[in-house]
């Protein structure tokens, strides 16, 4: 617990330092509208990162969740358009369930066949993307077709402010959803036995089994939750961007994994926290969105993200090496 708290402090310090530097380069960073848009950009990546956090604490890795997010989002939106349904709650339940079921598939294959999660999720990602694009469709659902209820939801703000020139900007209400789910996952991870079983499994799967954890159940919990969060985040993304693009989210896996690693999570399992992950997501999104503010061409974005990931794992590798094995 102490180590965890320490590394969270370190991450928070990095965050503050980065904010100060970016703010010095371009004071526009500190404008409320910029901060609000940063927070908005946190929501979808953050929700997915919570799922990946669970998986990485359990010692696994997942590159299929973006495919699941697409599948859940596109299926639900297309169905809503097809049957002319206009609501919010049911679609989100369905999207979450679709994600969860696809996660169950991952859990089953990984647990049953003892196969490396990376390879399994590479396979299921291709399977699901191929099925969605080949079986459901490849065309976007644009704003003119999108169910109004979803657009309405995406536009909801907690606070709306007016700029000097009369245009308005606001803080999206979806940040509340993100905060609520983050707190929920935090409580589950720290206060429930299923949450602790994730840490135990990540620390030593064999020992977890010997102590009496039902490890199959843990794997199902981990991968289903990750899938469900991805499905939910997928639909939320569509409602916030007023668009359902079945080819979207390509390469986003990496951003999310980078954020989780940045948040102090170890790929070897057994370590990681919601607080760290939330901070990690914020750092990553902030760096990405501030490139323009810092006068760096957007073409450098992937280089920067890759660089951030490499430095984050290098630092965690050094940290893990220092503590005696």
């Amino acid at each position: 617990m102490r180590v965890l708290r320490n590394s969270n402090v370190v991450i928070a310090l990095i965050l503050v330092a980065a904010m100060v530097v970016i703010g010095l380069i371009n004071p526009a960073f500190w404008q409320l509208s910029n901060i609000f848009s940063l927070l908005k950009a946190n929501v979808v990546i953050g929700l997915m990162a919570l799922g990946v956090l669970l998986i990485m604490i359990s010692g696994g890795i997942d590159v299929s969740f973006t495919a699941f997010a697409i599948a859940a989002m596109y299926l639900v939106v297309r169905t809503m358009v097809a049957i002319d349904y206009d609501g919010v709650i049911l679609p989100f339940i369905f999207a979450t369930a679709i994600g969860g079921l696809l996660g169950l598939m991952n859990a089953g294959i990984i647990h049953k066949f003892h196969m490396i999660p990376l390879i399994v999720t590479l396979g299921t990602a291709s399977l699901v993307r191929g099925l969605v694009l080949g079986g459901v469709g490849t065309s976007n659902v644009n704003i003119d077709e999108m169910p109004p209820s979803l657009i309405e939801l995406g536009r909801a703000n907690i606070v709306t402010l007016e700029r000097a020139n009369g245009t308005t900007f606001g803080l999206t209400a979806m940040i509340l959803v993100y905060a609520a789910l983050a707190i929920l996952i935090h409580l589950v991870l720290t206060r429930t036995m299923i949450g602790r079983s994730v840490y135990a499994y990540g620390a030593d799967p064999e020992a977890a089994r010997r102590v009496g954890f039902k490890t199959g159940r843990t794997m199902i919990f981990v991968y289903c939750t990750a899938g469900a969060l991805a499905g939910f985040a997928g639909l939320l993304h569509s409602s916030m961007s007023w668009l359902a693009n079945p080819r979207g989210f390509v390469g986003l896996e990496l951003d999310v994994i980078a954020a989780v690693v940045l948040g102090g999570c170890s790929i070897f399992g057994g370590r990681g926290s919601v607080i760290g992950t939330v901070l990690g997501v914020f750092i990553l999104v902030m760096i990405q969105n501030s490139l323009i503010l810092m006068g760096i061409d957007m073409t450098w974005q992937r280089v920067v993200v890759g660089g951030v990931l490499i430095s984050a794992v290098a630092i965690t590798a050094l940290r893990d090496r220092r503590s005696p094995a």
Partner: protein, 345 residues
């Protein structure tokens, strides 16, 4: 895998020869099975689409685009031999093609790349390969020097390489290479496609390298038991560095073939190749935990999957559904391997 090994002399003393014999058989078996699968697919596709499938055009076009996938898969297999993985191969491939393309643009200036001769093309190949080796060196240093897990290291460098592609091209594809370059991807020598010749030569060379040299044996020993390799005096860090440099060079070669074949280079070409390379490596009997893998198996696995994919394309199955089939195939292979391993023990 290693966890099981460290435990229990008693088990090793008692259990007899069952698992051992299985392991010896496994490799020969995998290749024979793959050969049989190839033949079955040919028979099946011939039955479904006799005219098109058996046409020489079909086999010729396969001979043009199969080699790049084989090279990427062998690159993946070599990374897996030491228990690692290389998720940056597609980024390296594209970067090599784009680096060469950028070089040609620079050399030709206003005149247009059409005027560039053999010398420039050879220089381009050299630059592409150097880019690959350097990329592999970066991966190797991160993995063996900084001790970063191969998954995360190559995931990160893969992004950096693709990012550099975007930076070099500014986004759109580089179109138009010198004719000497496109000959590498589309030409023929004595009516045999050049990529196919390259593929045969490289496969033989790599098979010899892995099967008949101390380099190959050292890599496999490291993958089998990294700790014992150190105690046996194998320079683990250095060997891993070499293996990722080789992986990078092979990926770059694949990138050269790809850009030569389509006469263009772009940051997101061949993105589905990553999954396919992993799938093929696993299908070919490579142990992702290290120590086992062979070139012939990879070539056979690529042949099987390419036959299947072209057959499906002829039946007008969409490319997206073929992606689905790849994924399903990978899962099926995992399941079968796991089940047969359980039976074998």
């Amino acid at each position: 895998m290693m966890k099981g090994n460290t435990r229990g002399t008693e088990a090793a003393d008692g259990k007899g020869s069952g698992p051992g014999r299985f392991l010896i058989r496994a490799r020969a078996d995998t290749n024979i099975q793959l050969g049989i699968i190839c033949i079955l697919i040919i028979i099946l596709m011939t039955a479904l689409q006799p005219r098109m499938f058996l046409s020489s055009y079909n086999f010729e076009s396969m001979a043009f685009f199969m080699p790049e996938l084989v090279l990427l898969s062998i690159a993946m297999m070599i990374a897996m031999l030491t228990g690692g993985i290389d998720l940056s191969i597609v980024g390296v491939a594209n970067l090599a093609g784009i680096a060469a393309g950028t070089l040609f643009g620079f050399l030709a200036g206003e005149a247009g790349v059409g005027g560039l001769g053999t010398g420039a093309v050879i220089l381009g190949v050299g630059v592409g390969l150097i880019v690959g080796v350097l990329a592999g060196l970066v991966n190797g240093l991160l993995i063996s020097g900084l001790k970063i897990t191969p998954i995360l290291a190559t995931l990160g460098t893969g992004q950096v390489f693709i990012g550099l592609c975007v930076v070099l091209t500014g986004g759109p594809a580089i179109v138009g290479f010198p004719s000497g370059w496109t000959w590498i991807g589309n030409g023929k020598i004595a009516s045999i496609p050049v990529p196919f010749l390259l593929f045969v030569v490289l496969c033989v060379a790599l098979a010899l390298l892995l099967e008949r040299t101390s380099f190959g044996l050292r890599l496999k020993l490291i993958g089998t038991n990294p700790k014992a390799a150190v105690f046996a005096g194998i320079r683990k860090g250095r060997m891993i560095l070499w293996s990722y440099m080789l992986t990078g060079a092979l990926a770059a070669m694949a990138g050269i073939l790809l850009s030569a074949r389509v006469n263009a280079a772009k940051s997101d070409y061949g993105s589905s190749y990553l999954l396919q390379a992993v799938l093929i490596a696993v299908l070919a009997g490579t142990n992702p935990a290290g120590g086992r893998g062979n070139v012939l198996g990879v070539a056979l696995a690529v042949a099987a999957l390419t036959l299947l994919a072209t057959g499906l394309q002829m039946m007008r199955v969409s490319n997206h559904l073929i992606d689905f089939v790849w994924g399903a195939f990978l899962i099926a292979v995992i399941a079968l391997n796991s089940l047969s391993a359980r039976k074998g023990l």
